[in-house]
Symmetry: C2
Subunit: 295 residues, 2 copies
Amino acid sequence: MQDFYPSRGEKEEIINRVDKTVYSSISAGEYSLDNISRKEYEERGFIVFPNLFTQEETKEMLKELEYMASNTQLAKNEEFIQEPDSNKIRTIFNQHLFSTLFDKISKEPRVLDKVKQLLGSDVYIHHSRINIKPAYKGKSFPWHSDFETWHCEDGLPRCRCLTAWIMLTDNTEFNGPLYVIPKSHKKYVSCKGKTPQNNYKKSLKKQEYGVPSVNAIKEFTKDSQLVGVYGKAGTLVIHDGNTMHGSPDNISPYSRTNAFFVYNSIENKPAKPFAAKTSRADFLCLKDFTPLKSE
Amino acid sequence: MQDFYPSRGEKEEIINRVDKTVYSSISAGEYSLDNISRKEYEERGFIVFPNLFTQEETKEMLKELEYMASNTQLAKNEEFIQEPDSNKIRTIFNQHLFSTLFDKISKEPRVLDKVKQLLGSDVYIHHSRINIKPAYKGKSFPWHSDFETWHCEDGLPRCRCLTAWIMLTDNTEFNGPLYVIPKSHKKYVSCKGKTPQNNYKKSLKKQEYGVPSVNAIKEFTKDSQLVGVYGKAGTLVIHDGNTMHGSPDNISPYSRTNAFFVYNSIENKPAKPFAAKTSRADFLCLKDFTPLKSE
């Protein structure tokens, strides 16, 4: 299979994206994007929908998360990642498989209509995760394109995937929010450095491969200002799989919790990894390609 | 000597400040603060003066800094601190003693008139420093009150000291700026934990003693919102010695450089450390009490 996005080679290079960002202008349901929003997403590589979920809904999700995080049986699954220095849960992968509430949220028409329209096809979930960035000690995450990893290490052939994520707590300039570089999704950083075996075990904690150099990020910010994605709990954000993002540490006294759902087009099923000897763990690259139906 | 600000004990406690914040309303020269600014400083514990220095002046200071940082003879002094992973200079202490330009800046009437008025007496420099928080890898610094350390480890008896600092590069929400908690200077966190011997050698890299708990910071933010101190190069900031502040890491592609000057009232000369067996290094607690005169 042709590799349109080579990476993890001997030198870093910025190349053009070969795929579309918006695959369809046809409505995929009541909650599809209007022309202006679609244009915004296409141009900037991300879009924010404040208060898409009500306070009651986000409270319910937080309660569900608390239940999951305090369930010692559940915590035995490899999808439940603890803090390095305590037994507190920091990340839960595939919350939609462990919780009927989050399963329902993943098929919410307010989300799914938008996702299906943007990807121009039926979609399935590549993986999902809830990240808790704890007050005072939540660590930063370096700049990266998610797609670069999904392509290199999971084998997603084309950039026809995106992340829709819900703020479960307020995301402010102080509590380790996501920073994005508008327009960065139009370029692709072919990163330097061969992927080590079982890289994902380390990269979930601190990504070292698939991380562009400071010069590449400087290049991207030459004609685009960094944007901090701030919002109240209940805000929905959709960002293209290739949008460059990172997040600083959280020294504030408020923790920051977000639920991420990664959607992929069913026409973009994973092949063999393009730049790794073996695939990442199964839970990072789900193989249930059943098209999601709104619920 | 009575200890009005006990700290480093067996438990954390929040007590009241016993000292004034503004010691004089009488003008100390052409560039003193007007009533409104003085009131703002008194109430909030910090004040920002955008563009107090011109672009030409900040460029000159940056040039001087580059010269100092590249001078291998100078770098042999203990005041010149290198990055842990390279020989690049990250901090220079007492730039006013190594550079006539920074010496002149420390006596600039635009700064000194304000400082002398706020402290209500003649002043001298307790220490000064330039901090370079490098792009991409500049580390965060936890919440702390400077005065707590100066009192415990240097022996400054009363809170009659402040820091005036100049942004030598833009400070943005993205490049590891200072966060402050308005009004926090009115309370004092008596911190938990006995000061270890030679604590300063470690604390210059990562402060561990004199750091309030997350609960104390939460308490402070109950009726006060965090503020990020952002500004263009050339901005002057003055914050009270006891204003609680911290800074996140810098994942942006832009480094952040600030020049700090710590002024103390000549009526507040250091005694013996109040909560450490020995004093910190001499360069952190200067003993030249000659009153500064405007230049």
